[in-house]
């Protein structure tokens, strides 16, 4: 798996856009909206390589924070402009409201691409990039408010271990969110989806990234992955409560959610 992602890292984003016709961006937006983070949230994004979830999290929290500040100012209209100006200075250093995101990935190349993207797009504060294995996270217990893993869990050899680790590092009250390819139950769509996956995706891999085999592997690993209910049961086994899932695009993708109580 490591070598697959080593060769895939640089063209990862281009390939994602081509394979999903850009829809993966919508899926990730939905994930962060479902998360609905408030300023001050500490997020751990596992297998987050190129930073897609992390950047969306920061954008979301920033806009929530802006609205918070605007509301505060409205309530302070009686203050002198001197005092208003001073409050800007204080809050300027707090545009994220102490929110933080730690991007953790097992692959150095993916992290490198993510860091470069962050620089390019102008993300500086609130981001940390850590090398780590989802089955054995380098973090202490009860540290994070939210744990996300977007399109990463199917590449983990021992999913149950990754789920246990997720449980361990979450604070009580923390939320587990998983965005992953799942199973399409509708038979007509399923056949179309299979056709597209097996016929078109490896070709895209060869033409765009010069790599047929990695994308053939990708399509096969999606088929091998546990379906919605099975994954739900596995998440419950790890100790999470209120486990639920939401199908996107008829089950091509699903978001599973659970809480540590």
């Amino acid at each position: 798996v490591y070598q697959v992602f080593e060769s895939v890292a640089k063209k990862y984003d281009v390939m994602n856009d081509s394979m999903t016709l850009g829809i993966h961006r919508v899926w990730k937006d939905i994930l962060v909206h479902k998360m609905n983070p408030t300023p001050g949230t500490v997020l751990l994004d596992v297998a987050g390589g190129t930073g897609d979830i992390a950047f969306r999290f920061i954008n979301y929290v920033r806009s929530v924070r802006e609205r918070q500040l605007q509301r505060k100012l409205k309530n302070h209209q009686s203050l002198s402009w001197q005092e208003i100006f001073e409050s800007y200075q204080k809050d300027k250093f707090n545009s994220l409201g102490d929110s933080q995101v730690v991007v953790c990935d097992i692959n150095r190349e993916m992290l490198k691409v993510g860091k470069q993207k962050a620089q390019h797009l102008g993300y500086s504060e609130g981001l940390s990039w850590v090398l780590g294995n989802a089955e054995e996270l380098p973090f202490d217990d009860d540290k994070f408010d939210v744990y996300t893993i977007a399109f990463g869990i199917r590449n983990v050899t021992r999913i149950d271990m990754a789920l246990q680790e997720a449980y361990r590092v979450l604070k009580p009250g923390g939320r587990f969110l998983c965005l992953e390819f799942s199973h399409v139950s509708n038979p007509v769509l399923s056949r179309l989806y299979d056709l597209y996956s097996f016929q078109v995706i490896p070709v895209l891999g060869e033409v765009i990234a010069g790599d047929w085999k990695s994308y053939q592997y990708l399509v096969e690993s999606i088929r091998q992955f546990p379906p919605q209910e099975e994954l739900k049961a596995m998440i419950e086994d790890a100790g999470f409560f209120k486990v639920d899932y939401e199908n996107l695009n008829f089950g091509i993708v699903a978001i599973h959610s659970g809480f540590k109580l």
Binding site: Q199, V200, P202, V203, L204, E206, V207, G210, W212
Partner: protein, 237 residues
């Protein structure tokens, strides 16, 4: 990987040679279209040119193979499957050969243009093991074509060789390369190309016997001019 092979054999899709990726007709069509577009957009994607050749060669390759089978030297090549690689070539011996000999001029070509025969892509999408060798041989012999035609590896030289190869092999990839290659050339070069080089390349290509039927590895000492005459390539302008 073993599991994969078992499943594939069940479905009737087998790996016929190392590096072989079996593909369905739809996949081949998509690959042909995609690689053609990509090769035009990004001329440094030599792998795309290779893929285009493999996915569109289903008529030309058997044709070439049959030409080889019906020729004594070509037949021997098909049997013995020689490969042109730095590890199989004795570079110092070739360098020591007299000027004007095939071996000496070939080495000179490689060094002047800073190319190596080892950079040729191995075939992936050809569904016949012998045809895979034929296209591999075509690729490895490409540098010798440059030597025999006296063309360098710049855009102009490559286009001329492509015209020659298009006439000789009938590979759609060569035809497309010959037709679209000139798009990136200046008008001055286009003029030279159209008035002198291409007509010569076409005439030579038509006049010459099949270039894949020559056992080059056994002819390193032969003077280039004599080999040209034997094959039927007219002297370069």
């Amino acid at each position: 990987e073993q599991e994969e092979e078992e499943v594939e054999e069940e479905e009737g899709w087998q790996r016929l040679y190392p590096g072989h990726i079996p593909t369905s007709p739809l996949q081949k069509a998509l690959l042909a279209a995609g690689s053609a577009v990509m090769a035009l957009c990004d001329p440094y994607r030599h792998d795309m040119v290779a893929v285009l050749g493999e996915t569109t060669g289903c008529l030309a390759l058997p044709n070439l193979r049959d030409k080889m089978r019906h020729h004594p030297e070509g037949y021997r090549i098909l049997q013995e499957r020689p490969r042109i690689r730095l590890s199989t070539l004795d570079m110092s011996r070739l360098r020591g050969l007299p000027d004007g000999s095939l071996g000496r001029e070939y080495v000179r070509f490689l060094e002047d243009n800073k190319v190596s025969p080892d950079t040729r892509m191995p075939p992936k999408f050809v569904d016949d093991e012998e045809l895979a060798y034929v296209i591999q041989r075509y690729r490895e012999v490409h540098d010798l074509m440059h030597t025999l035609l006296g063309m360098p590896t710049n855009m102009l030289g490559e286009v001329v060789v492509k015209w020659f190869e298009a006439v000789q092999t009938g590979l759609p990839m060569c035809v497309l390369g010959a037709a679209f290659g000139p798009v990136r050339l200046s008008t001055r070069k286009l003029q030279v190309l159209a008035t002198e080089l291409v007509p010569w390349a076409i005439r030579s290509g038509l006049n010459a016997s099949c270039v894949l039927n020559v056992y080059y590895e056994q002819r390193w000492e032969q003077p280039v001019e004599s080999l040209r005459e034997e094959i039927g390539i007219f002297p370069p302008p």
